[in-house]
Amino acid sequence: MFKRIKSVIFGSLVLLLLVNVNVVLAQGEALYKAKCMACHQIHKDGTGPKLFEVRKKWLDGGANAESIYTWVNNWEMSAKKDPYAQTVSTWAPIAMSNFPELKKEEIDAIFDYVDAQAPVVAVTPEVTDNEVVVEDKGPSTWFWVMIAIVLFVIVGVVSKVRRDLKNALSESKSGEEFDQSYSMELRTWAWENKKLVGLASLIIVVALIVLGFMDLNSIGIVENYQPTQPIEFPHTVHAGVNGIDCKYCHNSVTKSKTAGLPTVNVCMNCHKQINGRTSVQQEKIKNIYAAAGWNPEGAGSYTGKTKPIVWNKVHVLPDHVYFNHSQHVVIGGVDCKQCHGDMTKQKETARVLPVSELNEIEGNVKLTKPTLTMGWCIECHGEKEIHNGPLNGKNNGYYNEIHKRLLNNDKSLYDKYLKDGKVTVKELGGWECAKCHY
């Protein structure tokens, strides 16, 4: 009987303890997230040092047992009293905030929660499809050239033997020296098969002319241009998985003619902390650190030694064309994907997407002419509706004046424009030469 009571008491005690531990951990988690998380990660140094087993670290370092609690409440006071705390205060130039409101039990709860988080096992390189690309280009062009040369030699040798035999035969028949050259032999053969040769040469000539003209059509067409870049930047990860807006990195797109490449400080807004999970990623991110002059050791520090990243421009327009991004994006309300495609799916470096791929994207104006040609531009200007007039509610005022003038000056012209129920860019002067060429 007594034994039973004892076991019940013991069991309930264990239960209480477990519940208590859970309560403490939950309290610690809440406090950690509210007070510490912005600067202190659990297993990795960031703005502040990592917190995992920090109490043990301090004791091993020779600090007094109380020092770490004083530190959280007021680190300057702690640094004055304890030599170990003094060394900790030199860890990084950013001073820690003081938390005088935290009690000793609460600080312990935070550390209990932090210590209960298992260390992350070093991630083995993930075999994701955008990391490991199997090189499958097939044999190179030189391989085929070599094969062609070998075949030519064989054909040459065989025909030489055949001709020698044939000459010998003719000689034995006629009795005189017989040495018909290749061209003479070919001519004889062609004369004997006049019709066939004539037809074949006609087909070849016509085909060459047609091919030549088709090739002329590819002049000035940059579809599928995909220059190699100093860093193989995956848009899928940044714009896709992590959901960063295009305009955050290409931030001059709303203000300037060019969309702009992000300066390295924009990269560093995230990459100060993110240094890559796999070795491939780490190698790539080291390029950013070299460019920004960032030394990731410890708290990390900028050394001031910067080195520009030389990106290669992908979407190039000729010098005689004026194109303004802010006009199209802010005033015209054109989405980036209308011209650049869905970059959240672009695994490799940026590429000029052919018009057929752009047309597959939902919401795009469907066009026929090749990307980045003049036909492509004016085709869109002829189709795209100007939303910002008095025609509908989406009014940011930019086109009010031109709509007003159309209404006041020539009502019949405006009525003509409105026949199809919309006012296009073309009708507001989007097909004027001087809009883009001057």
């Binding site: 002049i219 920004a292 000729p318």
Partner: protein
């Protein structure tokens, strides 16, 4: 044998011809044929063009030095003649902390002379939002603020400001604080943090100008308090620090 070589030469020429027809369009590193190559590279300075090699002329001294330059120090961009606008866009009078070259890469800035790291941040509490929000203009200001917030802040701080942006949800980034309940934080300090960066966050001065940052500050207030701006009221944090505002002088 001589004739054989001649024939061989002809055939290779033909093949070479066909090969040439084929090759240009397949190499992703080639932009293809250009109709007038000299019209593609402008002698006038254009952004993102390497002027070290222009029309075959190589000039190492200007390579990657002509475009995307920092404006000369102490120049002020022109923002029209509207006095309020001009005053608003004058350079920010608070200086970055003396340690910010090392911690935030603000290398060539004028640093605060005060040795205390967060002195200017504390002083910034006195700054009031120069864009006055009233019941009439609240809708426009908050819409503008929301647009800017969703482009520049949302991926980390989350749509609701709870620190659960797509970067955090995907596991790429940790340690984004929840600012919904940080009502005590003053407008001026919010501005200072966005402008020069704070903790892990970098400086956003190169991305957003002063007017835009103040707009974002208004929007953050409206996340914290859905009633913000709907009635003519001053947020509590502003009223408490008005007394100190005499100290803010434009240097």
């Amino acid at each position: 044998m001589n004739k054989l070589i001649k024939l061989f030469g002809k055939v290779t020429l033909l093949f070479g011809f066909l090969w040439m027809f084929n090759s240009c369009s397949k190499d992703p590193n080639s932009a293809g044929y250009e109709y007038m190559p000299d019209m593609y590279r402008s002698p006038a300075v254009e952004p993102y063009v390497d002027y070290g090699e222009l029309r075959g002329r190589i000039q190492k001294s200007v390579s990657n030095k002509m475009s995307v330059k920092t404006p000369p120090k102490y120049t002020i961009p022109y923002f029209g003649t509207n006095k309020e606008e001009v005053m608003l866009m004058l350079p920010y009078h608070r200086k970055p902390s003396s340690t910010s070259a090392v911690t935030h890469g603000l290398v060539e800035w004028d640093f605060s002379t005060n040795p205390q790291g967060d002195y200017d941040y504390q002083m910034a509490a006195a700054d009031m939002n120069p864009i006055k929000i009233t019941a009439e203009n609240a809708e426009i200001i908050l819409k503008k603020g929301k647009d800017l917030y969703s482009v520049n802040c949302k991926h980390c701080h989350g749509e609701k400001g709870d620190g659960q942006g797509s970067m955090v949800v995907s596991g790429a980034y940790v340690g984004v604080p929840n600012f919904v309940d940080k009502i005590a934080l003053s407008d001026g300090q919010m501005f200072y943090s966005i402008y020069y960066g704070k903790g892990a966050m970098g400086s956003h001065a190169p991305i957003l100008n002063k007017k835009e940052i103040w707009n974002v500050v208004h929007y953050i207030r409206s996340i914290q308090n859905p009633e913000y701006g709907k009635t003519n009221f001053m947020s509590t944090s502003v009223t408490t620090i008005v007394a100190d505002s005499t100290k803010t002088t434009v240097k």
